[in-house]
Assembly symmetry: C2
Homo-oligomer: 77 residues x 2
């Protein structure tokens, strides 16, 4: 199975959700991408359908927006 | 570990998220509660901090609001 990808931007809501997701599905099953620090990944996240962070893109391509830290527009800005 | 609880109201967004969550963490690790059908559980969900469904309350009490199906107010109404 391909890994899920957790996109975040380092915001407090993101960090808290990251801990919860790792606890729930295991660190080995998710790739963590900080789109604030890896700005080339913003495009990838948008193409996957991510509208806000934190968000988890599952291995089958579904996007789960979790709580609300920041919109992608805010991360870009 | 106590189980996580996934609260939903039967909406399409909820059903889709339910499948994803079960896929990610396993059906044995999450209790599914349909607050549209089990209205006594609405109070429990609100006390846990659930503002909208679908939402996952982790075993340590954190609330992950996932995408947006309906607000608790809408479910009550």
């Amino acid at each position: 199975m391909e890994k899920a990808v957790f996109y975040h931007a380092g915001c407090p809501v993101c960090v808290s959700a990251e801990h919860d997701i790792i606890e729930l599905i295991g660190a080995d099953n998710v790739e963590i991408v900080h789109i604030g620090e890896m700005r080339a990944k913003i495009d990838e996240a948008e193409k996957a359908g991510v509208k806000s962070v934190p968000a988890l893109v599952t291995s089958n391509g579904n996007v789960l927006h979790i709580n609300f830290g920041a919109s992608i527009a805010d991360v870009k800005g």
